[in-house]
């Protein structure tokens, strides 16, 4: 087994009284995607800044591509790409000029940097806007450009610090597509996000952090399983028949059936048996009850956060929103 692309042990960073990182460990195998998930102020950006050589930790050490981030910063820098929380592109330069400049400063020759810029802008759907100043770009275009600039030298490892924060849903989905392409090339990715579905959608493994510490680590499936299994959820066409439906489903559920009157929905644990879906349809059909929607519902990662910390992700963000943390971000 080869050495991990990113490895950190005991990373600590304080800003005065505020503990941004309280001893964080992490490991990202080559070619995988680690999603670092946490609310605002959890320490995600601080961790990324340490791993990308922008910030020195108070304690702990980290290697990226096998090189120590403190001792061998230049070698680390020649192997990584960084896409910032807010897109670090020069708004007075064109998209093409931005990517070319980063390519040149990464060690590419002039013609090579220009050719790479053409290729990447084309791949990320920015060919038409390539020679316009980026201040006219939409938020989604800027993020794609930022990502293109990070990839110009084909880094082994890419850090994406909240790549979709502030984007509208369509742009977010567009950026996810682009990120998946990057991952498909075999690039190791460390992605931070406060969007639970983003980590679920893109990451192989998810590291949930809160107040600078790991609170959970695993695949999305494992984290969800920890919270509880899947449930069968049924919505009726005629919500006045909820009670009839409950009675009809007791046998299928083999236990309690929960009724949510406000949503007009019934649910019960699936106990890992997808066959219960078919049994549910048969039971309701037999009772003459029309089904509007039937689904096997997995717990969301919001449920995960709630389960791990006892508070919703949004509450944790509010707790962390101290002035210090805001200025750090």
């Amino acid at each position: 087994m080869s050495a991990p692309a990113i490895e950190a042990t005991g990373l600590v960073k304080h800003y005065g009284e505020t503990v941004a990182l309280g001893g964080l460990d992490l490991e990202v195998p080559v070619g995988t995607v680690l999603g670092m998930l946490g609310p605002n102020g959890a320490g995600k950006t601080t961790a990324v800044r340490i791993l990308t050589t922008l910030l020195r930790p108070d304690a702990g050490r980290a290697t990226v591509a096998g090189f120590d981030v403190a001792e061998d910063a230049d070698r680390v820098r020649s192997r990584i790409g960084l896409t910032g929380q807010y897109a670090a592109v020069d708004e007075h330069l064109t998209g093409h000029e931005n990517v070319t400049m980063v390519g040149r400063l990464s060690g590419l020759g002039k013609a090579q940097a220009r050719a790479r810029a053409d290729e990447l802008l084309d791949r990320f759907g920015l060919a038409d806007a390539a020679h316009r100043a980026t201040k006219g770009y939409s938020g989604g275009m800027r993020r794609r450009l930022d990502l293109a600039a990070s990839l110009v030298a084909s880094p082994d490892i890419v850090f994406l610090d909240e790549p979709t924060t502030g984007l509208d849903p369509a742009s977010r989905l567009g950026l996810w597509e682009v990120i998946r392409e990057v991952v498909a090339l075999g690039t190791t990715v460390l992605l931070t996000t406060q969007y639970l579905e983003e980590a679920d959608s893109l990451a192989d493994e998810i590291l949930v952090i809160d107040q600078g510490r790991e609170i959970a680590l695993g695949t999305a499936t494992k984290l969800k399983a920890d919270v509880g299994g899947e449930t069968v959820a049924v919505e009726l066409v005629d919500t006045s028949r909820l009670e009839d439906a409950r009675a009809a489903l007791v046998g299928v559920a083999g236990g309690e059936v929960w009724v949510d009157e406000r949503q007009g929905r019934l649910s019960f644990p699936a106990h890992g048996d997808a066959g219960r879906l078919a049994a549910t349809v048969r039971a309701l059909d037999g009772a003459g009850i029309a089904v509007a929607d039937l689904s096997l519902r997995r717990p969301s990662l919001d449920d995960v956060f709630l389960n791990l910390t006892g508070r919703a992700a949004s509450e944790a963000a509010a707790d962390a929103a101290t002035p210090t943390e805001a200025s750090v971000a």
Partner: protein, 283 residues
């Protein structure tokens, strides 16, 4: 894991070129400087400032203040031009602090710092592009000066030496300005921090008026200390043959040139390494 991320030929070649790359100040400074100049050219308001402000200053001092400032044996415009050019260049160096802070705020500095480029090149590129812009101001002022009867009366060699001193002065003050920018970090703060010290420095000097009439402490500062005075005096001696005599003192051109060089070198020896050190310590 080296080639995994590069599925395309160009991607593999790029990865090859970038691996273990370490930029030098010579390679990276021009890249940064060109980027900075492009930014300026695309912001017409800056270009207008660079052109209009020097013209305005020359005309105001030539035709408003100049009419009330008699210089014995001297045309005021001949006295004014070398000094006002030095003053404009010193003021222009404030753009270094503003440019640095704007880049820090905009996230470009973070991007630069995460690249295997030369850290010194970020500073050098900034100082060089600011110098280029300031030299445009200088040319504009000389042209406007000629339109209002300013004449260089010395040899080409002497005029070039004056130019070199003015370039040195600009570089020296740009390096101070870079340190200010790195210290204050905010563009607004950089703007006001610049003007607070540049106004007294350029006005308590021999730039606009002879120093003989100033109160003793100001006169001492303006005559003996202020590098802007020394460079103005040197430039005056080297362009309009102005060995200016006040009531008690005559400027000695050789001394003015030497003191200018000492100040320029002294400032740069301190502030260039300091700015690079501060840049490397940014977090």
């Amino acid at each position: 894991m080296s080639a995994t991320s590069a599925s395309t030929t160009s991607g593999r070649a790029a990865a090859e070129a970038a691996r273990n790359h370490k930029g030098t100040i010579w390679r990276d400074s021009p890249i940064v400087a060109i980027r900075n100049l492009r930014r300026v050219l695309r912001q017409p308001q800056i270009a207008i400032f660079v052109l209009i402000q020097p013209i305005m200053f020359v005309l105001l001092f030539r035709y408003v203040f100049g009419t009330a400032i008699p210089i014995p044996g001297f045309d005021y415009v001949q006295y004014l031009m070398p000094g006002i050019i030095a003053q404009t260049l010193v003021f222009g160096s404030a753009t270094t602090a503003i440019g640095m802070t704007e880049d820090m705020k905009g996230g470009i500095i973070d991007r630069f710092r995460a690249l295997p480029m030369s850290g010194g090149a970020v500073m050098a590129g900034r100082v060089v592009s600011d110098l280029a812009i300031n030299l445009v101001s200088l040319v504009v002022m000389v042209v406007v000066g000629y339109l209002v009867d300013f004449r260089i009366v010395t040899s080409v060699g002497e005029a070039l030496l004056a130019l070199l001193l003015l370039i040195g002065l600009t570089l020296a003050f740009s390096s101070i300005s870079a340190v200010i920018g790195l210290a204050v970090k905010e563009p607004e703060a950089a703007q006001s921090a610049g003007f607070i010290w540049l106004f007294p420095l350029t006005f308590i000097s021999s730039v606009f008026v002879p120093t003989a009439g100033m109160p003793a402490p100001l006169r001492f500062f303006a005559e003996q200390v202020n590098p802007v005075s020394h460079v103005s005096n040197a430039a005056r001696a080297l362009t309009v043959d102005g060995y200016l005599c006040g009531t008690e003192i005559c400027t000695d051109p050789t001394r003015a040139v030497l003191l200018s060089v000492v100040w320029i070198v002294g400032i740069m020896v301190i502030f260039v390494p300091l700015s690079i050190r501060m840049f490397r310590r940014l977090e």
